[in-house]
């Protein structure tokens, strides 16, 4: 018995090593696209590794509570709370739990945390390592919103960069999108990214952007899958000025994913290993 298992392990190592070699060759032979702006955001300026057990660190995050206006503008069905049942830090992970329970007139609860007023930045590399929830009607997101200057500017003028959005009935696909004046909601600009031979609710994946003057590069793990520039948007480019803050949330229902159904399993957890923000070390 032991013998068989050992042999198998050796095979695996050999296969894995040869895979690395192939990957290396492919990477080194990959020339940079002429039109692509290469960014080197290497200086870590902000992070939450979620290493302190218990409540979400209030120095980094604020809970948004309630149902917003019209379900946060999307007819969402959840009530966001600041209870530990909906957001907590456990085993080195932020856990945002969407639950099916009656609460203040809503049938679902969840959490939405933001860095507004605590950490905001223009440009940089924003990335998070996340294991997504899944199921019909579940809508997790890792995204940025432009600061509204105490309400003097409104969406979509403030700009929105969705680094990762997913609808839970498409467990292999995420979307990376920007919203701005003239290209918001249904007219937003973005692209889906679909995993091959894997899915987003069975393991952790890195979702990130490299965001600089006149470009936003989108990547998942080690795959750069899209670049958005002023040429791509059908309105004013609002991503070169004004700082943006980070949002992590799991919505339930709403115009985009539709409502949960009998097949949706609750609770659904989004697990976040870290959120890290870098800036260009040359700046």
């Amino acid at each position: 018995m032991n013998k068989t298992i050992k042999i198998k392990k050796m095979n695996k190592i050999v296969v894995f090593m040869s895979f690395l070699l192939v990957a290396l060759l492919v990477t080194s032979s990959c020339a940079t696209d002429d039109n692509q702006t290469v960014a080197t955001f290497t200086e870590l300026v902000w992070q939450d590794e979620f290493d302190t057990e218990g409540t979400v660190n209030p120095e980094n995050w604020t809970h948004e509570i309630g149902t917003g206006t019209n379900g946060w503008g999307n007819n969402e069905l959840e009530y966001y709370t600041d209870r530990s049942e909906n957001a907590t830090v456990q085993n080195g992970l932020l856990v945002i739990s969407a639950k099916n329970e009656e609460f203040n007139g809503s049938s679902y609860t969840s959490a939405r945390i933001i860095t507004k007023g605590k950490f905001e930045q223009t440009h940089g590399r924003f990335e998070a390592r996340i294991k997504l929830p899944s199921g019909q009607g579940i809508w997790p997101a890792f995204w940025l919103l432009g600061d509204d200057s105490n309400g003097s500017e409104v969406w979509p003028q403030i700009g929105e960069i969705d680094i990762m959005e997913n609808v839970g009935d498409e467990p292999t696909k995420i979307f990376g999108t920007v919203h701005g004046p003239g290209y918001s909601g249904g007219e937003s600009i973005g692209k889906p990214y679909e995993l091959q031979n894997d899915r987003f609710d069975t393991g952790f994946h890195v979702f990130g952007i490299e965001w600089g003057q006149n470009y936003i590069n989108y990547y998942v793990d080690d795959v750069l899958y899209n670049q958005i520039t002023p040429d791509d948007v059908t309105g004013e480019w609002v991503f070169n000025d004004g700082p943006f803050y980070i949002i992590l949330n799991v919505a339930v229902g709403g115009s985009y994913p539709g409502s949960p159904n009998a097949s949706t399993v609750f609770p659904q957890n989004m697990l976040v290993d870290y959120v890290r923000v870098y800036k260009n070390s040359n700046n």
């Binding site: 068989t4 042999i7 467990p171 894997d198 899915r199 609710d201 069975t202």
Partner: protein, 469 residues
Amino acid sequence: MKNLKFIYTKNTLFLALIFIVTVSCERDLSDEVEFATLGNTAEVFTDSPIGLGSDFYFPFLGSKLTAWTVDDNEGYESQSSMRIDVPNANDPEGNYAGAIFRVDGAGRDLTGYDALTFWAKASQGVNIGELGFGQDFLENKYQVTIQNTSFGTNWTKYIIPIPDPSKLFDERGMFWYSAGTQETGGFGYAFWIDDLKFEKLGTIGIPRPKIYEGGDVNSQGFLDTSGVVETPSVTFNLPSGVDQTVTAASSYFDWTSSEPSIVAVRDFGEFEMISIGTSVITASLAGEQATGSLSVEVLGEFNFAPTPTQDPADVISIFSDAYTNVPVDFYNGFWEPYQTTLSADFVIGGDNILSYTDFNFVGNQFANPTVDATNISNLHVDMFIPNELPSLFDFLISVVDFGADGVDGGGDDTRQQIFVTASDVEAGTWISFDFPITLANRDHLGLIIYENINFATLSNFYLDNIYFY
């Protein structure tokens, strides 16, 4: 664990065989040689059967043996596929189609895959009754089934997830199907399957296992007897976002008894009741805890009815393990609409026991042929009333002679009524009745009826050793 070891032992023997054969060749084995494990061929059928050997198709009993063919005019992105013609319900050669595809030879190592997939279409929209793998007509140890799968008239890909691939290191049951005409008014149809193969998709969600439909079920049993858990199920989210539930053999699961000294769980989901008390059985699949549980209350030793002592030559037996029974039509005819009595018959230590629940009345019929009891003088019945005697007990046993016409009714039937009252019985112990038979005509006995009378409330009792002597 026990089983794993056993199977590995077999593998070792197999490897040893290769070793011997190889050594007999001219070349010696080098030190770097790696012993071969079982083959891991993924394909079962592409344009033809792949690696199944020559004798791989085994139809189910009663199915049409010629239902399966290779169709060289239809295929998914090819010219060939498997065609299954489900026969009409009145086809004398078999009223349904069903078979297993078993590797003729050594099993395959399927541990590197996570699903059996195939493309299929049908001659009309229809739900195919059962499809799966892991059925080998041996132990069916790792059988998996999907039920009522909707086939349309154009090629569609189907996915049957493997509950725990690590178990399938030596599997011969590559595929099986069973399809009838229940939904098509008894009329046959055809369906085609192509590119049938095991795959490592990586896009199947985390298994959500369930036992007892996710409920917490209570049961009772007797000391030194055994039971078997119900076949569990596992729900997987497919890459399309749609859930697929499979029924999975209990061998895929790890079973746990909360009180192993009361109820011990064995392989195949069998459990033994080894001391008095209550234990809760739960299960997990590949580390995922299954929802649902089975609570087993072990009641104590089962009290067997006294072993009959009459000479078999003098006995006409209706129901007994001590004698050879005459042909019996039924022990519970379930006469609708008035009868409520259900049967929960059981076997303990090889002894069959009739158990009636929700009792109001019930009959044992033995009319094909009727019994000639001219030379006997008594009816023997052993009765056991579990729990407590009901507040109202009034019990009637009727022995019916069907008369010269030999059929129930017809104007020539006669019956003897035997009244049993509360003072004749006791709960929690076997009561042996020996009633003299006083029927004048007793050469066409065909029926014994048991009933509650005068609003009696007896609900559950056991019967054993019903015979004339």
